[in-house]
């Protein structure tokens, strides 16, 4: 498997290098879909320049990166392009290794369940074989590296790529079973952008499953392990935050980074849902709606945990998608991360209902974003409603994609245990619906 991976890597590096040298690089860096106030490269350069002038970069409202990013780019700023290409490669590599291991786990579990006769007799066509699963890791790496969203994000040098790398390493560490490393990477990811906090639940569920600890609320070993993992995670988070204090000897970065993510003061249009709402809202209600919107991101964790407690990896995928859709400043780099996971579930293809229309919606919306931006800002013949409509459609497409996969996954699980030809009590053919 190494040779095709190397080929994919070479193609990806060539594409990125070619784009870096072309005139499109400047154009893409300016796009609001790719660079948000949280992760734009311009702001990193600005922050480092302020630091050279002796001013704290957090003193204005420009710089919202964490001190570890300051440290990283202080020494690597001349090699920025190389750094971003390497982060993309590391992400792809981490995802490749993670999915390879995950496939082994899936296959082992499937074999166990077949031997335990848990499956209905007529589901032979739903059973996955190692043959079809052989190329999935390569497809995952391919999907991530050659996704136009990832390429644009890399060319724009958005630090979202670094966040993606950390989340990919977190997934790798979780799948390999190392609770310590997974807690450390999750703490790093949460430290950079607050939302990976919700990935705590799927990681915990996966590690519990791996340790064969049953998930019962009364079980002592469950709580023990949960406490251990939570302690590891919180301690690493606290250690990293205290370490960042020593970079600039001030706690300025906390309101600048986390306060900014949570209170959403900057209403530059992006592909998310926050900006339009808060641009037209009265001051009086803005606190209430900020709280509602932020709770919306964290809210789906518990119900999904209850429903998907036997399938933590799928839970992780859905959670990543929810973070990318509902976070306060999404960019296409976040979308690219969860899209990289789609090949893992391509066995669900026969159950997906809306995949054609959803892929059309996503492609058309991605193409219309720059068009309507031009019409609104430069030509002046459209207004913000046009751009917001495309944003809404894009997000609806993403949500429908996730819920379609959710439905397909649950349907397959149901068929596996109840057989492919479902009948109602009176013998007529039944149809599964997602309630």
């Amino acid at each position: 498997m190494a040779a095709p991976l190397v080929l994919v890597v070479l193609v990806a590096v060539t594409v990125r290098a070619a784009l870096y040298r072309s005139s499109l690089a400047a154009f893409i860096s300016e796009r609001v879909e790719v660079a948000s106030p949280l992760n734009a490269w311009k702001r990193v350069v600005e922050g480092l320049a302020l630091l050279d002038l002796g001013v704290s970069p957090y003193s204005g409202a420009i710089f919202h990166e964490t001190p570890l990013i300051i440290y990283l780019f202080h020494f690597l700023i001349e090699y920025a392009e190389l750094v971003f290409m390497i982060t993309d490669l590391l992400t792809a590599l981490a995802l490749y290794l993670a999915i390879q291991d995950f496939n082994k786990v899936v296959f082992k579990k499937q074999k166990l369940l077949i031997e335990l006769d848990k499956y209905a007799p007529d589901v032979a066509e739903l059973i996955r074989t190692p043959m079809e699963m052989h190329y999935i890791p390569l497809k995952v790496a391919l999907f991530y590296l050659l996704n136009p969203y990832t390429v644009m994000s890399c060319v724009a040098k958005s630090t979202c790529a670094i966040n993606n790398t950390i989340i990919a390493f977190f997934v790798l560490a979780t799948i390999k079973g190392s609770a310590f490393l997974s807690a450390v990477f999750l703490a790093l990811a949460t430290y950079q952008s607050l939302y990976p906090l919700t990935l705590f639940a799927p990681a915990l569920l996966y590690l519990l499953q791996r340790q064969f600890i049953p998930i019962k609320l009364k079980s002592k070993s469950f709580w023990l392990y949960t406490m251990q993992y939570a302690a590891l995670y919180l301690c690493s988070l606290v250690v990293i935050i205290c370490l960042s204090f020593f970079l600039l000897n001030s706690w300025d970065f906390i309101p600048s980074v986390y306060g900014f993510i949570l209170s959403v003061p900057d209403l530059t249009p992006n592909i998310g849902l926050f900006w339009y709402f808060f641009a037209e809202m009265f001051e009086h209600f803005s606190l209430f709606f900020v709280c509602v919107f932020q709770i919306n991101v964290f809210f789906y964790t518990i119900p999904l945990a209850i429903k998907l407690k036997d399938h933590p990896m799928f839970f992780m995928f859905v959670q990543l998608a929810i973070i990318s859709i509902f976070k306060s400043y999404p960019t296409v780099g976040d979308v690219a991360l969860y899209m990289a996971f789609l090949p893992v579930w391509n066995h669900l293809y026969r159950f997906l209902r809306n995949i054609f229309i959803l892929s059309c919606v996503l492609i058309v919306c991605s193409l219309l974003f720059p068009v309507l931006w031009h019409l609104w800002i430069y030509a002046g013949s459209a207004n913000s409603n046009f751009y917001y409509a495309i944003t809404l459609t894009f997000n609806i497409g993403q949500i429908l994609l996730v819920s379609d996969y959710f439905y397909a996954f649950l349907r397959r699980e149901y068929y596996l245990t109840h057989g492919l030809h479902l009948t109602r009590q009176d013998g007529t053919e039944a149809m599964l619906v997602l309630k």
Partner: protein, 314 residues
């Protein structure tokens, strides 16, 4: 002499003026101040704060005709007279849409002083709260008069009911009356000008400022600024123009000029301009931070991969 006239509104040729091409100071129509030889250099929308400051400081585009330039040098006495539009505490309104502040004006005068564009400057302003406009001057050789103090309004003189507007402001009217009696040989000095328009006539209290002026105001003739009177000395002796001017100066009759030479502001020292600021020391992350970070990374590495690797490294 050289007059640069900036008129924002064209009253004389306004279609509503029943006596076209005339502007009278009083309704008895004795004195047509518009006259036959008035030349308006900046008219209507050209009267902006920017143009005014450009005329003063000399930063004019090369295509500007000479009539629109100030063309002054270090021996010129300049009279600046501002009136008409609304003023306030510290500003004067131009064209209903912009303002010139007293700070801007003071800075413009300082630029003129540093560029040696005037010898002495007389600044007269007739607007509401006019005294606030000269509060901020800090350049030498400026004398200022205003029609009202801060907090007072300047009032207009009399309306002409035929035309329907007030013809002139009070202060301007009385200053005009005073100046009509001055001829090029008159010896009236500035103290008399300060007495023009007392509170009984003007309702507002005129103010003046002479602290920046190096001569005593009693010794300053009105004709130093008005009437384009030049000091001409006629002599029948031959004078050799040589470097040593000490002998030359002693031949001049003693006049009211100050004996100590006027000093110009220090030109910006060129050495300071050319010398670059020392490069700021680059920021480096504190050593403690780097140490802590790498210690953590090494700890994580060894925790994951086991302590047995330590043996191979050390």
């Amino acid at each position: 002499s050289h007059i640069v006239l900036m008129l924002a509104d064209d009253m004389a040729c306004n279609p509503r003026n029943p006596k076209p091409a005339t502007v009278f100071s009083h309704k008895n129509m004795e004195l047509n101040v518009y006259g036959d030889d008035v030349e308006v250099d900046y008219r209507s929308y050209e009267v902006t704060v920017e143009n005014f400051l450009r005329v003063l400081t000399g930063r004019i585009p090369p295509s500007t005709p000479r009539s629109k330039r100030l063309l002054s040098d270090d021996r010129s006495n300049i009279l600046i007279y501002m009136t008409g539009s609304h003023g306030g505490n510290g500003f004067l309104k131009f064209q209903d849409s912009e303002e010139i502040t007293n700070v801007e004006l003071a800075d413009a005068f300082e630029q003129m002083w540093q560029k040696r564009r005037y010898n002495e400057l007389l600044f007269i302003i007739d607007t509401c709260q006019g005294a606030s406009m000269y509060e901020r001057f800090y350049s030498p050789n400026i004398m200022a008069l205003a029609s009202s103090q801060v907090g007072e309004d300047s009032l207009s003189h009399q309306p002409d009911l035929e035309i329907g507007v007030h013809l002139m402001d009070r202060y301007t009217f009385y200053v005009l009356e005073f100046l009509e009696e001055i001829h090029p040989a008159s010896q009236t000095n500035m103290n008399d000008l300060f007495q023009v328009c007392p509170k009984s006539l003007c309702v507002s209290t005129p103010g003046h400022r002479t602290d920046l002026f190096q001569r005593d105001s009693q010794n300053v003739l009105i004709t130093d600024f008005f009437g384009s009177v030049r000091k001409v000395e006629i002599t029948t002796e031959t004078i050799s123009l040589d470097r040593d001017l000490a002998g030359f100066e002693s031949k001049l009759p003693k006049d009211e000029l100050a004996t100590e030479p006027l000093k110009y502001a220090e030109q910006l020292p060129v050495a300071q301009i050319i010398h670059q600021k020392p490069k700021q020391k680059d920021w480096h992350p504190p050593g403690g931070f780097i140490l802590g970070l790498w210690a953590l990374i090494i700890m994580v590495f060894f925790k994951t991969y086991g302590i047995k690797h330590m043996k191979h490294i050390f």
